[in-house]
Structures are given as structure tokens and as C-alpha cells.
Amino acid sequence: MRLLIAAPALLLGAMGLVAEAGTANQGVRACKSASACRTREVFVPAGVYVPFFKSGSGIKAVPVEPICLSETAVTHEEFLGFVRDHPNWRKSRIKKLFAEGSYLADWQDDLTPRPETLSQPVTFVSWFAAGAYCEAAGGRLPTVAEWERFAGGSTPTSKPGTAADRGAGQGATPFAFAMGRSAPELANTALAFPGVWEWTANFNSAMVSGRIGTSEGADSSQFCGDGIRAVDPSNYGAFLRYSFRSSLRANFALKNLGFRCVREAP
């Protein structure tokens, strides 16, 4: 647990992928209460996250610290501001280690997203790029625990496709509910899930879904054994998310994958 708290604070210092320091000085404001959050942020009070998979000794709730959470995913317009200020993250300059060839694939050039997408979530961005953006904005990517807490919602109903389940905006698929649904206590906030998967700081902790047949981890994941280890096997939205995270590499830039940032108390 200390790891979870310590990590984000260290991340801000150690994630020195961005050379320019200008925007970073917007500062990390204490976020212990709702009033400390900026406009277009939602305050998520402290809570617990019940992991989707049982750990070795059974189900163990993970405490989650309070955070200020962006209301919605980062948009093309916002990302444009970032690459203007941080040229190393532009399409023509970025190294393959940090983003694969499809980075910002739908942008016409380094500084030209398609006009009709400006207010839509930016996709085709890698974990590195997402993390760098968040750092420049004074925050970081949410951890899986944090994301599942604010966006895991409740178990999807048996009738997806209703208005409540469909994400608004582009990329809404029949499984938009899997891409995010507000935790019950955040239902009356402006928290929005515009129908894209979202990067998390430790996406590569989701190692059991999809790795069918390997003997990985402290508990071996057997053939289709994920369902056996899941706390709620009928929550196929969570399955889809964990499975998807398992398939990712840090430099992937995918059509349906965007991100949002969080800030937390130092």
C-alpha cells in the first residue's frame, strides 16, 4: 500500500521524460477536499477498490487515496497544446521506444489534428505520451485501483445498450459501459466516459487475463482459468478491461485508447 502512495509522488520527480519545465510549474495543489480541485475536475474521496481477481489469500480490498480527477478524457485540442510546448512528443520526432508508428495516426501532421475531433478524446497515444502529458499538467495517470474505483461502476446489467450504458461521443461501442461508468457516489458529478479505453499508470499489472495457458504469477493462470479467479465472473465489462490491458505494451498507440489524468495529495 505504501507503494501506491509513494509512487505517484516519486513519479512526478523521476519521470523526467519531458525536457521543458515551464508548464510543470502550474504546481501540484493539495487535493484533500473538493475545493482543492480545479474546474473540470471531479473530487474523488478516499475509498476502497475491490480487485477483480482474487489474490492468493482471498479477496482483499485496496484503499485508495483521494484524488482530483479530470472530468473527461484528454481531448485532441488539449494534447495539441502539449505537443506545441513539448516538441519531442510530436509525431515526427518521437522515438519508436516511446510510441509505435501509429502515434497520432489521425493527425494530419505534427500540429494538425482533424478539426472535427478537437473536443473528442485523443487516441493513438502511447502510455509514455499520456504520462508525459499528465506530468506536464501537474498530475499523473491513474492507477488501476484508482480507475476501477471511480470508473468501474457496478456490475453491468443484463441489458447493455440502454442510454445509461452507452458512452457519449465518438467511439461509443456496444461495450461502452466497459470503457467506464461512474462509481455510484460520483453519479451526480460531471464525470464522463466518452467511449474509449483509458491508460493507467500500472496497466502492466493486469497480467492474468488473456494470458491463457502460461504459468505466470504466484497463482498459475490455467486455460480459461481467469473466470475461476475473478471475484465476479459475470462482470464481463471488467473482464474486457483486464483482458485489454494485458494485451498492451507501453508504446502502443491504438484507435480506441485514450487517457485522463489525476492529481493527488503529496
Binding site: 491463457i212 481467469d226 459475470s234
Partner: protein, 516 residues
């Protein structure tokens, strides 16, 4: 510092003694020289794959080769049934995916690609591959990426392939399955035509046939209650102009698969018999003359047959409500000369009235005990005392009764509990002779109470003559423990006329008004 390290490494490399006993690293999966027990691989070729229901031609080469197979996953909204769409997850842009045909011993190099527009990670498990996950782990990729892995077709047979990414049942239920045939080295017996059929289920949030875009319903899936059970991916995929076409006398092989994910299939062609069955898709004919063969979930079967008689046939999952209410039906059109010596078709047709075949004189026994429960069962009792009806009419009525009435009201007039009212000691019958005549003139429906029991059936109008009605009513009203005045033909005539006048008076008179 770096330089020092390099020199040191180099020095070590130069002077280290030779190490013996390490396995030869040049031996690898794709070794061209024959390893113990494995056939030598000669050359390479691209896999030939075909869309449903067609099958690639039999393999003629007599050696194992390296087969280059590309499989691409595409998520795509398609038609599931008339007016119904569903977002399929497919191999090769359709469910089932393409049929793959290789030879026993082949090395199959599979490039598995997940289209960049797709929303989730996928993979593939070949039931024909022996190795962890059947390839599931090796092939697991995010959208916009592909993975390559190679497996050897160790065993001949007909195998399912399907996606097994978590949650696997959902991937199957969205259409991610297909068949791969690993032909035995010596090939399969030659047939004139081959087709493949894969059964699969769809769990939609809306009911069967509900129009619009439908989505996967997990609770139905867990309960194993699909709305659709279909052949080759949609309702009617093999019907109408897509029916399988064959000719009389042709030998046909059907490659059957069942992707489930829940229900076993009882595959049957209505009006045909399978000559040879390779149960569970193995390589041995292990049964002949089979009407219905089981196709297990996640499994297969092969059947060989010859169509003997021309015409239109259906094939079904013989779990009948799946066939008629969920879509598990397909069609075969067989062309060719008629074979009357095998099947005549309808030769003649006539009226069937079971009354003519029953005994004309029923031994009637009646009881004087009151009806206290469902339809009174009359016990033996003397014949009811004679009425004023003449015996010739009663005799005639007896004949009419035997011909028309016994089927429902029984030879002893006791009827059938809850279904057909008794005539024996019937209060309803005896209460009103005009009503009794009306019943025989018009028929009767709606709830009535007879001897304290309610009946709500339909009695047809038998179009009897006045004489027949009079006779039969006289008969029943003086038998079966009933004692009442007989009915004459003129009584019937009078009622008939009344009814005709009432009808033309444009007011419906329901017999419900006769309810007691």
C-alpha cells in the same frame, strides 16, 4: 569505463576453453530434416481457405509442407436475422470463419492479426494444435497488432478453432469460431460434394426476432438460454437461395461443428439417414445408418450420406424448439429424377372419422350417485325408463350417437374430466330441450357448468339433419341415466327456423346466455 568492460569481455571471449555438451542450437521448430517420428517438411504454400458453406478441395500432395496461414479478426455489425443486427466479432469478417484445410503432419505458420479498428484484444485456439492454449497465449494481441506462431498438425481430424481471450464465452457467443480439417495422410474417402455447417448461439438482450441492434446479454449466457441457435452465423444462412444443393445419387460429406458456447447439437436431416458417421470429428467411421448425430460443444462430427430422393429437405438441431423458435434450421435442395420406388409421396387422401370404426352398440352403464367430483363416472344401473319416443327413433339415435358422439362423450356418456362434459345424468342436457337442439344445430363454446363442473371447450356443429338431431337427442335423453321427454324432428325444425330469424335480426345470440 565502458571501454574497459569491452576489452575485458573480449579477452574472456578469446581465451575461454571450448565448452562441450551443449544442445545443437540449429535444431528448431521448422527444421527441414526429419526429426524422430515427424514427417519431413517439404516446401511451403499459402493456406487455401473458403467461406461458408464451401470447403477447399481435397489435398492431393503426398508430403507434409509448411502452410502459411493468415487469420484476421474484424469486429463488424452484421445481420443476425430479418431486421436484427448484432456486432459480430469474426475471423475473416464472418461467422463462422473460413474453413481451413491442411494435411496431417503439416507445419502451420499462423499470422494472427487484430484489425486496428477493433475494440478488444483477441487470440485464437486451434483445437488441432497441441501446445499450451492451442495458440491462445502465443496469439493474444491488442487491436492494430499481429502475432505469428507455428504449430504442427499432429493428428488428423475435424477441429474447431475459436477465440479464447477472456471472457472466452463472450468471444464465442459473438461469432469467433470456425473449422479446420486436418486430412489424414491417406486422405478421406472421395465424395461428390462437401459442405460445412457450424452451429452457434447468440445471447441478445432483446427476444428472438426483436428488431433493431442487439447486444450480448451476459446473464442469459450464464444461464445458457440463448435467444438464437443458428447454423452458419445467422437465421436462414442456409435457407432459400442459400440452401445446400445436391443431386440424387451424389455422395455428400457434411463437416459439422458446434461452437456452442452452451448447447450440444442433435443434428438431423429430416427425411435422410447418415450412411457413415465419424463421431466427434475423428478419422474413423464408427457408425453406420444414423438418423441423428451428436455434435458436442467445442467439437465436431463428419457425416457421409447419399441423397436418394429428390425434393426439399430441412436439417435441424432436433431439440425442436431451437429449430422452430430459435433458428436452428437449414435447407437442402435435391434435384434429380423421382424415385417412387423409394418414396411415393402422397398417394391418396380421404376423410377420417373414427366413429365409423368404433362399436355401434356401446354397453352403457350408469350410476345414480350424485356427481361430487370431476365428471361423474356412472356405475352400473338399470336402463332408464322408457319415454314417449318411439323405439325406431331411439334406435336411429343410438347409431348416430355411436357415429358422431362417442369420440368425445364416450360410449357410456360420461365424457372426459375437464374436457368433454358428461351426457350421463347431465343436468345441463336435461334442463332445456330447446337449448339441447340449439347446441346440435350451432355447436357450443364458452364456459358451461355440468353437474357442478365447469367445462370450457368447443363443440363443433356437425351439420346433422333434423331427423338425426331428433333421434340422437331422444336417445341420450332416455339413456345414460337420463329420463326426459324425447325430441321430434318438428321440434328441431322449429328451433332451426327461430335461429334463422334471429340471425337475420342482426343480433348475435351467444350460448353463454344459457349458462346456469
Amino acid at each position: 569505463m565502458k571501454h574497459f568492460v569491452f576489452f575485458a569481455v573480449a579477452a574472456l571471449g578469446c581465451v575461454a576453453p571450448v565448452q562441450a555438451g551443449y544442445p545443437d542450437a540449429s535444431a528448431s521448430l521448422g527444421a527441414t530434416r526429419a526429426s524422430a517420428g515427424l514427417e519431413e517438411i517439404r516446401g511451403e504454400e499459402r493456406a487455401v481457405v473458403t467461406s461458408a458453406p464451401h470447403v477447399p478441395p481435397p489435398i492431393t500432395r503426398r508430403h507434409a509442407t509448411k502452410v502459411l496461414l493468415d487469420v484476421e479478426v474484424k469486429e463488424h455489425t452484421k445481420t443476425l436475422a430479418d431486421g436484427v443486427t448484432y456486432t459480430y466479432w469474426t475471423f475473416g469478417d464472418d461467422a463462422p470463419g473460413q474453413f481451413i484445410r491442411v494435411r496431417e503432419g503439416d507445419l502451420v505458420q499462423t499470422k494472427f492479426s487484430n484489425h486496428p479498428d477493433n475494440t478488444v484484444a483477441h487470440n485464437i485456439d486451434f483445437h488441432s494444435a497441441t501446445g499450451p492454449g492451442g495458440g491462445g497465449e502465443a496469439s493474444f494481441v491488442a487491436p492494430g497488432h499481429s502475432a505469428t506462431f507455428t504449430w504442427r498438425a499432429m493428428r488428423a481430424g475435424l477441429y474447431l478453432y475459436h477465440c479464447v481471450a477472456a471472457p472466452a464465452g463472450m468471444h464465442l457467443a459473438n461469432g469467433m469460431y470456425g473449422l479446420i480439417l486436418v486430412e489424414p495422410k491417406q486422405g478421406l474417402p472421395k465424395v461428390d460434394k462437401e459442405f460445412f455447417i457450424v452451429q452457434g448461439e447468440f445471447y441478445t438482450n432483446g427476444a428472438y426476432g426483436e428488431r433493431g441492434d442487439q447486444h450480448f446479454d451476459m446473464s442469459k449466457a450464464v444461464r445458457e438460454q440463448p435467444e438464437y441457435v443458428v447454423f452458419n452465423g445467422r437465421v436462414g444462412a442456409l435457407m432459400g437461395e442459400n440452401a445446400l444443393r445436391m443431386n440424387v445419387g451424389e455422395s455428400v460429406r457434411l463437416y459439422l461443428g458446434n461452437a456452442g458456447p452452451a448447447l450440444m447439437s442433435s443434428f438431423h436431416i429430416v427425411g435422410e439417414i447418415f450412411d457413415d458417421v465419424y463421431s466427434e470429428g475423428g478419422t474413423k467411421v464408427n457408425q453406420n445408418n444414423v438418423q441423428t448425430t451428436v455434435v458436442p460443444v467445442g467439437g465436431s462430427a463428419m457425416v457421409d450420406l447419399v441423397m436418394d430422393v429428390p425434393g426439399a429437405y430441412q436439417f435441424v438441431d432436433h431439440s425442436m424448439f431451437r429449430a422452430f423458435n430459435k433458428g436452428a434450421m437449414g435447407a437442402i435442395e435435391v434435384d434429380g429424377p423421382l424415385r417412387p420406388e423409394l418414396f411415393s409421396g402422397r398417394q391418396s387422401e380421404e376423410i377420417f372419422n373414427p366413429g365409423t370404426r368404433l362399436q355401434r352398440v356401446a354397453a352403457v352403464t350408469t350410476s345414480v350417485s350424485p356427481a361430487t367430483s370431476a365428471a361423474p363416472v356412472p356405475a352400473p344401473a338399470p336402463q332408464a325408463k322408457a319415454s314417449t319416443a318411439d323405439s325406431a327413433a331411439v334406435e336411429h339415435g343410438k347409431e348416430v350417437y355411436a357415429k358422431i358422439c362417442t369420440t368425445c362423450h364416450q360410449p357410456d356418456g360420461r365424457g372426459m374430466a375437464g374436457v368433454f362434459p358428461p351426457l350421463a345424468q347431465s343436468d345441463y342436457l336435461m334442463h332445456d330441450s330447446e337449448r339441447a337442439i340449439r347446441v346440435l344445430l350451432e355447436g357450443l363454446q364458452g364456459p358451461i357448468t355440468v353437474n357442478g363442473q365447469t367445462f370450457n371447450g368447443v363443440m363443433p356443429n356437425f351439420s346433422l339433419t333434423d331427423k338425426e338431431i331428433a333421434s340422437v337427442l331422444s336417445y341420450v335423453r332416455t339413456n345414460f341415466g337420463n329420463a326426459g321427454p324425447a325430441v321430434t324432428p318438428s321440434d328441431v325444425q322449429r328451433v332451426r327456423a327461430l335461429l334463422a330469424k334471429a340471425e337475420s335480426g342482426a343480433k348475435d345470440r351467444s350460448t353463454a346466455s344459457d349458462r346456469r
